[in-house]
Symmetry: C2
Subunit: 315 residues, 2 copies
């Protein structure tokens, strides 16, 4: 197997793009593509479509394949994409990962199989190995997705070590959404020497991550605040970084008072004057009127404005 | 909507059938059909194929549709089937449930969407409602699947109450795999008057369940011990019941010393002299040689024999 190069890997601020739904409620391809382009134009280095924030696990395989195709047809470069491709079952994970490779995606972000709990590292090693072998594509750059509070299936140090030893260059990094800095620090200390790229799952830890050898963050709030987070990423070695970190963290804290996915959609709906954006798919529920009102008021209070709001006529 | 009748509902001992794999490792249709038939001939009232024990969430939608078709083609009656159809995403759940209806299945056993955690009852209510409305089939008998230790998404009393009020006759019962008798007892007390059938997820609680108005159990160990469990179910009102309960509970405890799914497959592999049955799909791993040896020895010590073992030539 020829191993992937590391010099053109994604770095910076990646966004797990929220997925718009029609009243139907099918995914809304037009709004999706538009939001993806807006994000790339306003600070995102890449798009981690089909993440937790994207309600990816509420979408069927066919819906995801179809959304990927729309991104491709819209001219969006595969080099900017790191789709989530991890399902509970191996064949579906292989199929979506192979489709991402066919589109020239820069990488894939892969959840562990998340139905069975307390599974062994050996079982997870076999799972990821089998996915890599079956996809059989030297261009594959696989980023592990550690989000124990949701998946309930953590990615351990031992598992990373085994996978890196067997698939260097293919196993390219991790998104650490544990929110647990000592865990992130452990990964940075142990694995960055092996070209293993660590993204934190929250911009609140971005400066810490960059100072210790990380490459960026993949964060939900990038959907509405990618510009300032990107500025922090670009300026992390400057004296302004501490203040920039404080600002983006304050914005995040404000959003965290609400269920995050519904809150992000409410913000986009408000600032784009496009109520259809509020829709989420069950089992999630949208913010109610009062919550939305309160959220928007607190954003106004800190002077927030979704920079370069989409013109109404483009909707 | 015309509501389903309740007089021909499944009762008794249902088996979440283990899924055999080829070396490939595709699901092995021939072994699967044979084991299903053996179970129906040896005590099972019905088959809850595609359950947790079936590694259903390690199978793709296409694999499940194909296995269902094989059962149908083999002449196995839909009236004996209660396939698991719950996926994380609504469209896939609808598709598999509709396929089960097309095959005339007696019911479906439905996990809640299990990726997002701490979701609201309102969100789960919308999910199940939308599945029912989209399937749009008055023959649907939906059994909720409460297995909080694995799914991490419980089915609450409030949720059952709302669903039963809106879809009486369609929402037909529950499999309670909490192992928490007070929870089962609550469901029996609250909902059996509304033709809501309670199955326990373990034969260790079968006698208790029957004494308080339940209808049976859906239990992993039925794969290797359906005869004795069925006898207990049939004789629950007799003086022998307490001893029969003690016996099946002892057998269960013995199996519980091992990872259950791998252990069941090891038992079938041994007693059918068919090592291919040992295979599990990642993230699970099979029992190692020593574990298998120890398990079989302890089964022998209690005089266990898989009754009417499949003849070798039938494999």
């Amino acid at each position: 197997m020829i191993y992937a190069q590391t010099n053109d890997r994604l770095r910076g601020v990646l966004c797990p793009v929220i997925t718009p739904f029609k009243a139907g409620p099918a995914p809304d391809h037009q709004r999706f593509v538009r939001h993806c382009k807006w994000l790339l134009e306003h600070g995102c280095s890449g798009l981690a479509v089909f993440g937790t924030t994207s309600e990816a696990n509420s979408l069927s395989l066919d819906e995801k394949l179809s959304l990927l195709a729309s991104l491709h047809e819209s001219g969006l470069p595969g080099a900017a994409l790191m789709p989530g491709t991890g399902h509970c079952d191996l064949p579906t994970t292989v199929r979506l990962t192979a489709a991402a490779m066919d589109m020239g995606c820069a990488g894939v972000l892969m959840l562990p199989p998340f139905y069975y709990k307390n599974v062994s590292d050996e079982g997870l090693y076999r799972y990821f190995s089998e996915v890599i072998e079956r996809v059989g594509d030297a261009r594959l750059r696989l980023y592990l997705y550690h989000i124990p509070a949701v998946s309930q299936v953590p990615i351990s140090k031992n598992l990373i070590r085994r996978l890196l030893a067997r698939y260097p260059g293919i196993v390219s990094g991790i998104k650490d959404s544990s929110g647990d800095w000592p865990n992130t620090r452990m990964m940075l200390d142990e694995f960055t020497k092996d070209s293993f790229d660590v993204f934190v799952g929250s911009e609140a830890l971005l400066l810490d991550n960059m100072r210790h050898g990380g490459v960026g963050c993949i964060t939900a709030t990038a959907n509405v605040n990618c510009g300032p987070i990107d500025q922090l990423w670009r300026n992390w070695q400057t004296p302004q970084a501490a203040q920039q970190q404080a600002n983006v963290t304050a914005m995040r804290k404000l959003l965290q008072d609400y269920p995050m996915i519904a809150a992000l959609k409410a913000v986009v709906a408000h600032y784009c004057n496009d109520p259809q954006w509020r829709s989420v798919r069950p089992p999630l529920i949208e913010l109610d009127y009062k919550q939305s009102e309160r959220l928007i008021q607190s954003l106004m209070a800190i002077g927030y404005t979704m920079s370069d709001v989409l013109p109404a006529e483009a909707k």
